[in-house]
Symmetry: C3
Subunit: 663 residues, 3 copies
């Protein structure tokens, strides 16, 4: 297993390199990532390459058995690029260009930038192809969805649309350009939709906006592919990856992950102020694993307080270890802390590494070293294991973006909707895969598809078949409003899902913030809850109502939750948003029952459970996210691998403690 | 009476047109508005006109006895206009141009845009002059005060100023350009004041800003007049109107309404979250009626949930009807719901019509149809009636804008000030006209002129004469600070109104948010109230104090409210803002007494009263804005026209219920 | 002593001038400031000067014994400058230029603007050199740190850097350009750092940002020096000053004050809503005195409600006087109210003067006249006195800016940190000097250096020596993180201050808003407090802990406050921010004890104490900032100069009352 740090030899005097390498070795590390911002050091003048310093650094590292992942340095153009090729600098929505000086300056359509990026990639690949301890590559750094509005990008967008739609008539139909008289009569009339007016998302055509987002992904995926192709040709034995950003929403990560060997990502959990359950880091991990349905690597792992202006809190003793274990439990097969030593200069002076500014191997270094030692011990057990989930959550960038442009009701977003269900799964100790609508769903016992407003007929057909063939499906409010063009279906909701769900929705309404509505559930869901934000005015047909509105006279005719038997399966519908997490816990219990899923362990609040398995082995991870001891009931007589002891009927986890049971 | 819908045949397959027309007919509709965004369909290429599709649609509608109002389509330029004439696109304050793609893109000074707009207008007028069921025209759509900052607009502004002021010296005086050394020595030095610096309204010269706002109205009124002239010449029998936006503040609607046959407007009430009293829709209706002191038409009436990103709540059962009755009660003589069927494409996918995306005639359609039937029954009674008010409220765009630039105290705006008094009138069941300072006031028994900071000497003289001749006048804090140039009077306040009000104000002060001050009123206003936001340090001379400050030592010498007898009338002054609506209710009771106005009916909270009358007929409308039944005491023995029953001493209104009494 | 008003004869008819001058004279005034916005009136066309009107005004004033301070009018360029030399207009960060029309339009590098500014200055100086009652000059008006981003400014910045750093290698080192690959290979590649990307301070290089701020000060200081040089040459007998803006943070005021005869400033206290202690006006006064360690003048003193859009509250009776006394007590030797009469035109219509729009000498005028009479009576006692403080507070613009770019923890700023200690001094009745790191500290008994994150080695050495030689030093969290290049020291904190403080800090962490931590102090600081915002994980070495964390398990090993004996002095460290002002009061009591400082008087809450002294005289000022009477214990038998009575053991101050004791 690769465990190590992100390292910048170019930041430190050569005399220090040996010390750094020795300390890394002593911590048990075996890999470093290098050079992803060092273009100016590798090509100080156009076409003049200098790899001597990097060769020297890699040699020092090699002496301490440290392998190297090289980053292609195209995330920051050298000053000479900006100066000689000013059109490489991104153009903002208002038509002004950004000024060189931070990072991620470039336009992705600029022909010079593409050429220079490929040249430095090729030069690196050719130079390091024979360096034995160079084992893999990271393309660029954190593709971030930057949108350039220059003439070249506009022209490329027009070409992309022409290839997609063939005729202007098809485009005008797909974008609904008969509305407001916005029909194009020539391809060259097309503008970039997000800056169509002073208030972009408000006035922009939603169908055009969606294509623009898809185009941005296409453009950056092409930029990545240019480099992947070179590295595969020159260094066929090396792996190629990119460092994604978890739940970052601006690029279609499923598309970006194609063509890479595996996904790597940068994990900076959004902590609540107190030590708390970081659902989002688990969800992100499951999404990262879902991109290629394959284990992933952590390319940048939290090593200390982070921030550019103000910085966040310092991980408390035990938290660095716990954060690493959480990713391991969800499918991480590599762990690289960002960064080795806190930089004394530049914008990231306060994005702290394992070592502080003073370079001393103190508390955070020691904790990482201990974690590394434990991971080494677990390594033989982990080999070949991954998370195998019975539950899938549909997570679609088309839908995510469509809801950004038009949430429909205040507070609505795909991530918020997914979190309602994901968090309940987390609390129940059940793993899930996060997949998009192209995934094969037949292998899952339960499919959760919240906020599925974009529902192409093909997907509807797939879901219909899924239920019919013994699947349990949950969808919720505003499902199936739109097609893949971001146009509304001219159908009564829920459209093609009506048979599977057994319901009909003729009207719907947001619930204003001061008008929540009481809901009373039947005994399965047992209790009284509060509907907020939105209501479908939902009429059961073949479905059985599970909860009804009891709070506002005009909603009383409608069901809030329904359950339908369809073929061999069940189709659930939740027509509102519930304020109480308890509703989702109770609902999930019913769904798991319908789907015949039984969690191995039911954790107490604050404890996370995740299961990695291979055909012949199952490892159960228990993580205490609180700073108080927690006791978990577990199967008896199993081996806890960190202590190498047999379990009784429970395991007690220390504050931020971890246990790994071989089941 | 015209009742109908806004309809877009170009959005739907031809096969559907017949169904739509039939359903409209069945609902009792007799009019549709068409084509106001269809420029690209009527002139797909420059100079090539195509009205065949529209002829066909109008023919289908004619078969179902539906008349047509045509919109001139100049609110959205076709893509080919933007492409061939890029200078038609508006320039923002920062000097960058907007990008084509939403709506309302155009600069109003651009000579090509004016020419092309007149040409399409003339082409439509000539084509449809002989179409029998085309009965009227809407110019453009929702003029919105867009401000273009291009060189052409700047030059036009300079010319406009030269014509207004004659000499630079006069302009420099009128703008107070001796301040900060801002004198012009050449007309061409004049800049657009709203973008004079990084923070426009903060640094801009208030006098220059006011002229710029007047210029914007002038520019758009000219654009409108260009089209009106053509239609009057070509289609002399047709009416011409425009769809205003109620309380929208950016254009002087009194000026815009000149030259139209009547005012039409688009009513999307700003609902509070719960069903509540929509004062603002009544106030807007009274303003719309005040623009020409004449009944108006609703060109777009709320038909369902509305919104571009998130949308608002769905009208509850009964609310669509109630909203329509509210406008009828305030002087609407026509009712057009926006829109017929919810559009499946474009930015307004969620601005719902009577029909949903599925095109089925469901609940909202039925409610509109019922309302239409009732209106038809009332039609003979309504003929010739309008609202005849004893109360006038002064509402002046000069003043509104001046207070936008410089509210004086935090939270101050003309609309907020008017609402304090208007809402009390609403609760008292008293109708009001909303008029500007040019109106003849002699016909009113009571004139309310809150926040009248711009007070030209001529207006002051008119108000003085009004009081002297038996009028009752109410003004409040900061009255008379400024003249029509937005320059301060060099006078002790309240300046020329001192005799009528019998007071003197040497100093004044905002009240900071955490420093409200107790006020104690004498027995007429009975009680203790809370002064907030602002205080005039008000010394009664001939006036009698009605309330005094009892909360802060330094305010104790001053009166809070005064009443003066002057000639045959009364001059009231309110020197602060009161937190309690009850103060305004009590004050209004006194004002009505002074003005000898007696409401026909005193409604319970949540019920609105409005009276339409003709010389020989009086119709009393009662509207229940709540979702609970309400009982109203009424004159006995009158006919309730909807039930055709005689009244006892009270009428009970169902939730959202309506009654119409012939008095 | 100069006492008077800011006056604009060009705003008023000539007939009024005589009345104004007479009223000024009657109030006891002897000076007016004139002409600082009158460029257009003095040079109505390029090169054509007209001083006749100003001569006439000055003659009228002279007849009433009023001296004149002339402002050079370069803060607002005439319209003809903007028209003929458009490049004089400032360029914003987005590359667009501002539009002429407010004030402070100019770019400071523009060669034409510099030439025209020098020419009008020379013309004024030459014209008025022989006018006997012209006694001094104010350069420009309120230099405000406007940042121009034009090519000329960029080129000047590049040249400035080349002169500062000599070689690109040195610059690249100083800016840490090895980070993110941002090294320059040519001087012309350098960009302006504050607009480096869409989010300036977030992405900008902190070292580059700091140099840019220093450059902005350099540029404006040069602009000021251009004019100072001319006036000194032409009018050698006149004084030259500038009107600073107190705590305004965007320019290094220490640098700007060099070359002036004395500092003048504009005092508009930021009032809390209720009459309250205006610490900030005292702090600003002490800073203004600290700039040249010399008494100052008030060039614009609050005369009434102020504001451009909304305005603030009117000073209550007694407050105008109290505000003036506060400045007198802190070292003001001149008092000029802004402005004489409230302007009826332009953006400052609501920035009220002593007279209102009506021009009558009412309450505010009377209060100023009374104050003037009292000041005249005190004048002989005041002569030669100034504030002589035993306490110095370090206040450094480098540090202030560095913390703006990177506060480190949320809520952190130099001014907030200084206020924690300054306010405690205020409450204790102890005067302080506000000095920068170049000051000689040896004369102070106590040095407070909060938030001293930029700590060059030279300053560290000075502080070390200061403590060793019997000084008492207080520093607090994040001290010594950085060097003068805004690069982090590669040292364990507190770096070179470790010996003086006797502590070691290996880690640190912000405290999130919902995670305050209890601190328990030993008996010296007596009590339990709440640590918020931030904690150093502080280990005492030779220092004695004074308070420890008792609230969170992971902080228990660390001290919160330490005190170290080092040489003959004491080094205190506060490793967190305390919520309770009481902590700082208790801490200050200990610090004063260590430093052997005994306040003359300990005031009750709401009363301010300040001491002015000459070698042979001590004047104790007591100011009641509340609107309730306050009794203060004072030394017996002293003369109160306003009443000319001997004190008993206490003095009672009326609301907003003042007493001046000769000790």
């Amino acid at each position: 297993m690769y465990i190590g740090v992100d390292y910048y030899p170019e930041h430190w005097p050569r005399e220090r390199w040996e010390t750094d390498a020795r300390l890394m070795k002593e911590a048990g590390f075996n890999v470093v990532r290098l050079a992803e911002f060092a273009w100016i050091d590798m090509e100080p003048r156009e076409g003049q390459f200098d790899f001597v310093w990097l060769d020297d650094a890699i040699k020092v590292l090699a002496r301490y058995d440290l392998d190297v992942i090289l980053g292609t340095p195209t995330a920051v153009m050298p000053a000479w690029v900006a100066q000689k090729y000013p059109q490489t600098l991104r153009t903002k929505a208002d038509g002004t260009q950004i000024v060189w000086g931070g990072r991620k300056h470039n336009c992705y359509s600029n022909i010079d930038y593409r050429r220079l990026s490929q040249r430095i990639t090729r030069a690196m690949a050719e130079h390091f192809a024979q360096t034995p301890n160079v084992v893999g590559w990271q393309i660029d750094n954190e593709f971030g969805g930057e949108e350039c509005h220059c003439r070249s990008c506009l022209a490329e967008f027009q070409t992309w649309l022409r290839e997609k739609y063939g005729t202007l008539e098809t485009l005008n139909q797909a974008w609904g350009n008969h509305f407001w008289g916005l029909k194009f009569t020539d391809w060259s009339q097309i503008t970039i939709p997000d800056n169509a007016t002073d208030r972009p998302w408000v006035m922009g055509n939603p169908s055009a906006c969606l294509d623009w987002k898809r185009f941005i992904t296409w453009q950056q995926a092409r930029f990545q592919a240019d480099q992947v192709k070179i590295i595969r040709a020159v260094c066929p034995g090396d792996f190629v990856t990119h460092n994604f950003m978890g739940l970052f929403p601006n690029l279609d990560y499923y598309a970006m992950a194609q063509g890479l060997d595996f996904v790597a990502w940068d994990n900076y959990p959004i902590w609540s102020d107190k030590p708390d359950i970081p659902y989002s880091a688990s969800l992100a991990a499951d999404l990262m694993r879902g991109l290629k349905r394959k284990n992933f690597m952590i390319m940048e792992q939290t090593a200390g307080p982070c921030g550019w202006e103000a910085f966040g809190r310092n991980p408390w003793p035990g938290e660095i270890r716990k954060i690493a274990y959480q990713q391991l439990a969800h499918g991480s097969d590599g762990q690289i802390w960002f960064r080795w030593r806190t930089c004394t200069v530049g914008r990231e002076q306060y994005w702290h590494g394992l070592l502080g500014h003073d370079g001393k191997p103190l508390r955070r270094y020691q904790e990482a070293a201990q974690t590394t030692k434990e991971f080494r011990r677990l390594e033989p057990y982990l080999r070949g294991t991954t998370v195998v989930a019975d539950v899938a959550i549909l997570y679609d960038y088309d839908n995510l973006w469509s809801l950004e442009f038009q949430p429909g009701f205040t507070g609505n977003s795909l991530q918020a909707a997914v979190r309602r269900y994901y968090d309940a799964l987390f609390r129940a100790g059940v793993n899930a895969d996060i997949v998009n609508r192209n995934a094969d769903l037949s292998k899952y016992k339960l499919v959760l598809a919240p906020d599925l407003s974009i529902l192409p007929d093909e997907t509807a057909g797939k879901l219909d078949a899924y239920v019919k063939n013994d699947g349990t499906l949950l969808v919720d409010c505003r499902t199936g409003i739109k097609d893949e063009r971001n146009l509304c279906h001219a159908r009564t909701l829920p459209g093609l899902l009506s048979p599977a769900l057994g319901i009909c929705i003729e009207e719907y309404s947001p619930l204003p913030a001061d008008s929540p509505c009481q809901v009373t559930a039947t005994d399965h869901l047992s209790g009284t809850y509060t509907a907020i934000q939105y209501t479908d005015w939902l009429t059961p047909e073949s479905a059985a109502p599970q909860a009804s509105y009891t709070g506002q006279w005009h909603l009383k005719p409608y069901a809030a939750v329904t359950r339908n038997t369809y073929g061999k399966g069940k189709g659930w519908y939740v027509g509102t948003v519930f304020k109480e997490p308890a509703f989702y816990d109770n609902l999930l219990a019913q769904l798991l029952k319908d789907a015949d899923i039984r969690p191995v362990v039911t954790p107490p609040p604050g404890v996370e459970v995740s299961l990695r398995q291979a055909p012949n082995r199952r490892l159960l991870f228990l993580l205490n996210h609180t700073d108080e001891p927690k006791t978990v009931r577990v199967p008896e007589g199993k081996t806890e691998l960190l202590t190498n002891q047999k379990t009784g009927d429970s395991v007690t986890l220390d504050r931020f403690g971890v246990a790994v049971l071989e089941l």
